[in-house]
């Protein structure tokens, strides 16, 4: 199995530095080769009815946190908003 490192990295929003690329590619190929070995079991995945979850009651609890508390870790904030590079031209 040959995996397209560049394509996968793009999907994952990762960039592998050029000097590390060769080793990285080799490691990835051997990891994929390792996990590749799985038996073919002629079964389908089914939904587990026994594993049902309890749903939450529709009750709103406002003002649990202040905006400042929630934004305290953000790298860039302006006018109460998170700031990112422009998304439209």
């Amino acid at each position: 199995m040959n995996i397209d490192i560049k394509h996968i990295a793009k999907l994952a929003r990762l960039r592998i530095e050029d000097e590390k690329l060769e080793k990285f590619e080799k490691d990835m190929q051997s990891i994929v080769a390792m996990v590749d070995r799985l038996p073919d079991i002629e079964e389908e995945l089914t939904l587990d009815r026994e594993n049902a979850m309890t749903l939450r009651e529709d009750v709103a609890v406002p003002d649990k946190f202040t905006r400042d508390e929630l934004m305290a870790n953000a790298p860039q904030v302006q006018a109460g908003c998170l700031v990112v590079p422009k998304t439209v031209e």
């Binding site: 939904l47 049902a52 979850m53 709103a60 946190f65 929630l70 302006q78």
Partner: protein, 478 residues
């Protein structure tokens, strides 16, 4: 030019009007100060987990019933992975393989003809936040208040064949959402949005053409414009010998044009997989049945019934059916089977609507009862009172629950329809107005109106004008 057929499929996203968000207990509210309706969960903070709001499941099932779907009592949620600043977890919790509802249909009416549109599926998912762009700043701003607002996505089969059908389909969905009260349907707030899939093919062909998906359609009228633009564009491509490329396009309503967003080659790979933070959704049959029973007769059914059984026009039927209050009153009145449904319809769409518009009240807030309205209409139909007198009675019964029959008597509004009395009256008037009689006989037909008017005047308005006219006409021709 060849004869083309347009093939349309719609994906409608509707925000549900629950109290709290879909996966956390933040308020589900619109238009508040940026980033104030958020918490660690909907902000996607490390370590937080989703918990599914039961109302979202109920509402989606209700919509499933309203659209005649099969309800999957056992289903799950999946993650749709993609990076964008309005999606804090970098995945949207949605449903991929097994939606809550599937294989339904919706009957719509276009130009008085009923048409059935297949509904592929209805699933639940979370809304994303909003990006704000300001020229004064070099970046984009992110407001996460809308993150986690519950959505249902309704996917239609490619059964729609014109922009008019698309509009009717969308209007019908909107009226149902309002009827079963699961969405506010405020277009300007973006609470209903749709993606449009359009393809064209030669008429008679049984193969679908290559489709384009149009995003960013924020109004129903925008959908109509977008479909028409896109169909025209595709036909032009085909007519000039080209081929339509499968792609996602962005509709720009202001420019009235669509633009390529991405082609099939760089289609996104969402890497769907089952959401491991949530277990199986299991809804018991009893609950599904109870939700089914909670669905009232829906507007599209009503329209069809009003047109077919009551002989209303599609326009009038729609105006009545799409309002919960109006159709309730209409249905109560017509169920008594005492007066003509058309008359009921006319009263509702004219005087009653005028009153509610002027006062800002809903019909339910007025004193008007179906019983009183029917009594009033019957009196008019019998000719007991004139239309103008009826309006006087109406002005009272919409404010007070009083018996119209008694009111007519108390106010002395009853018309005299007695043949003998009216003949005496007419004889008297004709004898006093020989000039007009001879004018009439010489072909001046407007003399008739004058003579009838004189009769009415002499009776102090009590004479039944229809009858008077009938008798005077007969006497003049004798």
């Amino acid at each position: 030019m060849k004869d083309y057929e347009i093939v349309i499929g719609l994906e409608v996203h509707a925000e549900l009007n629950t109290e709290s968000k879909i996966y956390c207990n933040c308020r589900n509210a619109f238009g508040l100060e940026v980033n104030t309706q958020v918490c660690p969960v909907c902000m996607g903070m490390p370590g937080t987990l989703p918990t599914l709001n039961e109302k979202v499941v109920d509402y989606a099932i209700k919509m499933g019933h309203a659209m005649n779907c099969k309800i999957n009592s056992v289903c799950k949620q999946d993650r749709k992975n993609y990076f964008y600043p309005d999606l804090p977890k970098a995945y949207q919790i949605s449903q991929a393989e097994v939606p809550l509802c599937e294989n339904g249909y919706l009957d719509i009416m276009v130009d008085g003809v009923e048409k059935r549109i297949g509904v592929t599926r209805i699933h639940i998912e979370e809304d994303a936040g909003k990006l704000l762009h300001d020229d004064s700043f070099s970046g984009s701003l992110v407001d996460l208040n809308r993150c986690g607002v519950p959505l249902i996505e309704i996917v239609s089969e490619p059964d729609i064949r014109s922009s008019a059908e698309a509009k009717a389909y969308l209007d019908t969905i909107k009226s149902i959402l309002q009827y079963i009260n699961i969405s506010d349907c405020k277009m300007q707030e973006g609470s209903i949005r749709c993606d449009v899939n359009v393809s064209v093919r030669e008429k008679g062909s049984d193969k679908f053409g290559t489709r384009c998906e149009m995003k960013n359609v924020n109004s129903f009228s925008g959908a109509v414009r977008g479909i028409e633009y896109e169909a025209k564009r595709q036909i032009e491509v085909l007519e000039s010998g080209g081929t339509v490329i499968q792609e996602t396009r962005r509709w720009d309503d202001a420019k009235g044009m669509s633009f390529t967003m991405r082609t099939k080659e760089d289609a996104q790979d969402y890497r769907y997989f089952p959401e491991p933070d949530l277990l199986t959704i299991v809804v018991d049959e009893e609950r599904i049945q109870k939700l089914k029973e909670s669905i009232p007769e829906l507007p599209n059914r009503k329209i069809s019934r009003y047109v077919k059984e009551h002989g209303l026009s599609q326009v009038d039927a729609t105006l009545i059916a799409e309002s919960i209050d109006k159709s309730k009153l209409y249905d109560e009145c017509t169920a008594m089977k005492k007066c003509s449904p058309k008359n009921v319809c006319n009263w509702i769409l004219s005087d009653i609507s005028k009153f509610t518009n002027d006062t800002g009240k809903s019909i339910l807030d007025t004193a008007l009862t179906a019983e009183n309205l029917v009594k009033l209409i019957c009196e008019v139909e019998k000719g007991t009172i004139s239309n103008s007198s009826a309006k006087k009675v109406f002005d009272i019964i919409i404010k007070d629950d009083k018996d119209p029959v008694k009111l007519i008597e108390e106010l002395g509004l009853a018309q005299n329809s007695d043949e003998g009395f009216l003949e005496e009256l007419a004889k008297d008037i004709l004898s006093k107005n020989e000039k007009s009689v001879s004018d009439y006989k010489n072909g001046k037909t407007n003399a008739l109106g004058y003579l009838v008017g004189q009769c009415m005047k002499a009776s102090k308005g009590k004479a039944n004008p229809g009858k008077v006219k009938e008798i005077v006409t007969r006497m003049l021709s004798e």
